[in-house]
């Protein structure tokens, strides 16, 4: 296992290194003097000088890059000149909100898949199968933000039972009940496509598992169908489903930006949107690196989990 992980590390390092060069180069590709761009339109010469010093613009490009990278690794992220405040606290606050949102979305997705997957796999009535296929296709196809607008319209305006966006006035931690109300629609919106993909995968692999000889034997021996499905078949397909879940979690990153924008949820997605429209490049850079790192590490963890469960991958060729 360790050797498998070690073998994967070089390609991970290359991806991270190339991404960091690209993200670092971003600011230099923007036309104009970086310090003036960063300071915004109504900046004093003092601010511009301070930024010049913070970025080390008077030094060679290579040491600027080293300086930036050291800052990232040591979490010394510098200051934001346009949104304002230290970049570290800015991101820390938003990160908590995004984690709450994505964790709720994942929880909803997994619960949905665990209930609907076995139900779909054992659906013997054609109308039920058709219904589930239709709903599933729709859930996978409809873009998250489109669903978000539709939900906000339906439950925020037409039948006003839930807040159409934003966060509770007293903050997220003040009253869990009210927070849940604000969280529900964004989480459903973000979790639905993941849940749909997972449900479809679970149902399809359960169906092929149910055709295995051991299932036939168990059924012939009089073991109840429900028990065979939930105790034996489900247990056998869960490991590979974990991989699908891992890949889908990576996709949540992009989805979170859209969902947060739709529901004005003050997470990383909103922050990056604000940073981009305000041209706050240092914040954009840190967020881009964060996103790439999370994505790459998630991918590695997924592969590692898969390798742990399936020795053929671990022992197979270096490809």
């Amino acid at each position: 296992m360790t050797s498998y992980l070690l073998r994967r590390l070089p390609s991970l390092a290359v991806v991270l290194a190339v991404s960091s060069v690209l993200v670092f180069g971003l600011l230099r590709l923007v036309p104009g003097d970086p310090a003036t761009t960063l300071a915004g339109s109504d900046a004093t010469p003092d601010t511009i000088a301070a930024i010049r010093h913070q970025l080390g613009l008077d030094q060679p490009v290579l040491s600027q890059y080293a300086h930036w990278l050291t800052g990232l690794v040591t979490f010394d992220l510098g200051r934001s000149y346009i949104i304002g405040g230290g970049i570290g606290p800015l991101i820390g606050g938003a990160l908590g909100n995004t984690l709450l949102l994505t964790a709720s979305a994942l929880l909803l997705a997994v619960l949905t898949a665990l209930v609907l997957g076995p139900l779909w796999a054992s659906a013997r009535r054609p109308w039920l199968d058709h219904l589930l296929t239709g709903v599933n296709t729709l859930a996978i196809a409809v873009p998250t933000f489109v669903l978000g607008v539709a939900l906000a319209l339906l439950f925020g305006v037409v039948v006003p039972v839930l807040p159409a966006g934003g966060v509770p006035r007293g903050g997220l931690l003040a009253d869990p009940g009210i927070t849940a109300q604000y969280l529900l629609m964004p989480a459903v919106c973000l979790g639905l496509p993941v849940g749909a993909v997972l449900t479809r995968y679970l149902a399809e692999s359960l169906r092929s598992e149910l055709a295995q000889p051991y299932v036939v034997t168990a059924l012939a021996a009089g073991v109840p169908r429900r028990r065979v499905l939930l105790r034996h078949a489900l247990r056998n397909v869960l490991p590979t489903s974990l991989t699908v879940l891992g890949l889908q979690t990576g996709a949540l990153l992009g989805g979170a930006v859209l969902v947060e924008f739709t529901f004005s949820w003050p997470g990383l997605g909103m922050l990056i949107e604000r940073a981009i429209t305000g041209r706050d490049y240092p914040v954009v850079q840190v967020l881009l690196m964060l996103s790439v790192t999370v994505f790459v590490v998630l991918q590695l963890l997924t592969d590692a989990a898969h390798a742990l469960l399936d020795p053929r991958i671990r022992l197979g060729g270096a490809r």
């Binding site: 190339v18 971003l26 729709l138 489109v146 319209l153 859209l258 924008f261």
Partner: protein, 283 residues
């Protein structure tokens, strides 16, 4: 071997059948209708997309304004139709570009070991950025507009087509009859044209349908969060974002653009699913 040869000869017929019934037909009708609406926009739209109609502020849907009017007195139906042209145009440029660049990169990767390693790492890096995040990065450099949208769609498609072509070419070259042809002195271009292309065409067409659906998604998402086509130029995502601000006053304003995006994405998905099912032989 005969099985593979037979299948390669038979698949085009299966594929055509896949789009004349069931899911495939439904997808084709949905996509066709939306494309027709976009192409015929100058005939169908009752107003110009930028035209401000005196006294028609945030009206609800009616016979005169099918989707109502927006916050600056423009007809939403007309804006959606013209926006559709922009969105379809972007996808029409970006998806084939991505397929071409990705396909060539994949082909190159299948030829030499060095190119393979480089191409794989490039694909890895591209895949490490979720499309929306990539869009934000590109928009940061180029500024908002249609260009970053096209770049992102191409960037998202290149690794998909690259990987697909690379794996398919390597697989085809392992086939005994291709091996035999090469042994007999067949040139690489000949093998490519005679054996490789016919064998991977099916997979490419399925991927094109999936990519078209993905491109509509990326395009409308970027326009929605405001890093795509710049208003007042209409786009489905842009109209939807504007409608978000008016949910309380003109509730049905959002429904028009919503409907068109869903129909387009769903239509391409249905086509892709039908093609995929017909390739597997179960439809």
């Amino acid at each position: 071997m005969t099985d593979i040869a037979l299948r390669a000869g038979r698949t085009p017929r299966v594929r055509r059948g896949a789009l004349t019934r069931g899911r495939g037909l439904a997808g084709l009708v949905l996509v066709g209708a939306v494309i027709a609406a976009g192409v015929l926009a100058p005939l169908l739209a009752p107003y110009a997309p930028q035209q401000q109609i005196p006294g028609a502020n945030l009206l609800g849907p009616s016979g005169r304004h099918l989707f109502g009017t927006d916050e600056v007195n423009r007809d939403v139906f007309s804006r959606v139709l013209y926006g559709l042209r922009i969105d379809l145009g972007i996808c029409l440029v970006a998806v084939p570009c991505g397929a071409l660049v990705g396909g060539l990169a994949g082909l190159l990767a299948s030829r030499t070991a060095v190119a393979d390693v480089v191409a794989q790492r490039v694909f890895d890096v591209l895949l490490a950025f979720p499309p929306i995040i990539l869009g934000i990065a590109i928009a940061a450099v180029t500024g908002v507009g249609a260009l970053p949208v096209i770049c992102v769609v191409v960037g998202a498609e290149v690794p998909l087509f690259g990987r697909l072509v690379r794996t398919s070419v390597l697989k085809v070259r392992e086939l005994p009859y291709v091996d035999a042809a090469e042994t007999m002195g067949a040139s690489w271009p000949w093998v490519l044209r005679k054996h490789v292309v016919p064998n991977i065409l099916d997979a490419l067409i399925v991927q094109l349908a999936i990519s078209a659906s993905g491109a509509v998604f990326i395009d409308s998402a970027m326009n929605f969060i405001g890093i795509g086509v710049r208003p007042p130029t209409p786009s489905l995502g842009g109209v939807l974002a504007a409608a978000m601000g008016q949910l309380g006053t003109n509730t049905l304003y959002a429904v028009g653009p919503l409907l068109f995006i869903v129909v387009l994405v769903l239509g391409f998905q249905l086509i892709a699913q039908a093609l995929l099912a017909s390739r597997r032989g179960d439809a």
